[in-house]
Amino acid sequence: MFRQTKSWLGLTPFTLFVAIFLLWPTLSVFRSALQPVEGSSKPAMLEAISGQYLSAILYSVRLSAITAGLGAVIGTLVAISAVSLNQFKGLRNALVGYSAVAANLGGIPLAFAFVASLGMQGLYTKLLSVIGINLTDLGFKISDFSGIVIVYLYFQIPLMTLVMLPAVDGLKATLKEAAASVGATPRQYWRSIGVPLLSPSLLGGFLLLFANAFSAYATAFALSAGSSKLVSVQIRFYLQGNTITGKSNLGYALAAWMIVVMVLAMSGYLGLRRRSERWRR
């Protein structure tokens, strides 16, 4: 018993560090989130899921779900294409290598790249207008919903490619040959074997991408000059306006809901990843 407790002692510095700089701030988010906003008896967390505050959360959820859905589909197509072009090793390596890079790009510089491309004075805005497509007339703005979706896809697609590559690699050629030898058409093969085998990774990847988009802040902030409707950008507003509005607890409440959503998405992802890894052994 004594040995047991003693051997945990070596983990004290790490545990203390995480407790002070991660767990304590997280708890303090929830503590303030459970207190009422000025002039109300409801906890701020309940206040935050009513009316205009709820719309910020829903806006973020919708945007994250759409970028995750598009990113998941396109990223999977890229992974399948890369595997089916296996004879071009160099191409595949370049693609995987760049995916590992692009999945980690983001923040302000990425926002700049897309402003230079599809902003009002963007290079491709101009090129498209030459061939008769006027983005501004179509109502497209890089800082709006559809604009943010396109920018986020820049890191969502490669992230999904990285998630799916091992799974697609795991679809062994022997499976396809076996299916073909019993007379299955390619369509039947995908419907009865390919998709069911890939689906845990697909769904897991979707959740990972959702979490990735949901927690992002810098890119959207830079695209919209701080005026985005995304919940992450809204939090800044409540936090800095706290002395005037007396509503800083709402900022904590929105942050608390973000953590709740992240916990749900990430635990779903980790659970599904465990399942898809079991398949590959």
Binding site: P25, I80, G97, Y98, N104, G107, F112, S117, N212, A255
Partner: protein, 269 residues
């Protein structure tokens, strides 16, 4: 089969274009002094210059921000390694059963988005007093926290490949002291993991905007946000430089670690 290859090639070409085109537009904007409206065949080759980048880089504001970012990044690397190397070694040599505990704690930053973390920081640190957050170096422990998931993973993977416990027992039974064992057995085996962890942490700190911005610290990304309005060309060129630097770091890491499909997004969070 040929038809399918055609589709595959098409997918890859379209996606590759999506990856490359924004960078080209950003580079053109940064290095060509021709407004988009006047761009045409006749002006395509005109006025290319790196003057905007040079001017931005020698400006006081940039140097101030870059110097702070580099110091923050180096300090975060050092503090992170100081905490994680002993912990990881301890887990692998003394207490395998605690590995999932450490792994769990090191994954937690994934579920606390930086924006939520910084909200909690300002709430929690009110108790301590404002002196702690007054210094820009108060960011260091939080940067160690947000890079925990991949720094721990790098070190853990480098030790997972070998039976460290047996190696350490062998070294000790041959009469080597603990410090000798650490120097000659443990650290050389962790070399790749330490390099990986350091670069990943460094790149994360260089790109981190959320926490620094809300705590009003003037780091490189904060510089980008600030000077975007009054000097777009210079700022975009610095942004491009930052993209190139982090691309090089992540590309290098991908080469080094060779563990395909294991990359976990960091900077974007």
């Amino acid at each position: 089969m040929i038809r399918r290859n055609l589709w595959s090639k098409l997918v890859l070409i379209v996606v590759a274009a999506f990856y490359v085109l924004p960078m080209i537009a950003m580079a053109r904007f940064s290095f060509q002094r021709v407004p988009v409206i006047k761009l045409g065949w006749s002006t395509l080759g005109k006025n290319w210059t790196i003057e905007s980048l040079v001017n931005a880089v020698i400006s006081d504001r940039f140097r101030q921000a870059a110097w702070l970012s580099v110091r923050l990044a180096l300090l975060s690397v050092v503090l992170g390694l100081l905490i994680l190397i002993p912990t990881t070694v301890y887990v692998h040599v003394m207490k395998r059963g605690a590995r999932s505990y450490v792994e769990f704690l090191s994954m937690l930053p994934y579920v606390v988005p930086p924006i939520a973390l910084v909200v909690g920081i300002s709430g929690a640190m009110k108790v301590v007093g404002t002196w702690f957050l007054a210094s820009p170096f108060s960011l260091v422990p939080f940067y160690v926290v947000i890079s925990l998931p991949f720094t721990f993973r790098s070190l853990d993977v480098s030790l997972g490949a070998i039976d460290l416990k047996t190696l350490v027992e062998a070294s000790r039974s041959l009469g080597a002291s603990w410090s000798r064992t650490i120097r000659s057995v443990i650290l050389p085996n962790m070399k790749v993991g330490i390099i990986n962890a350091s670069f990943l942490c460094f790149a994360t700190v260089l790109g981190e905007f959320t926490i620094a911005s809300l705590l009003l610290k003037f780091t490189l990304p904060a510089y980008l946000a600030e000077s975007q309005g009054n000097n777009p060309q210079g700022t975009f060129s610095v942004g491009l430089l930052l993209l190139v630097v982090s691309s090089l770091i992540f590309g290098l890491m991908n080469r080094l670690s060779k563990r395909k499909g294991q990359a976990f997004s960091g900077l974007t969070l």
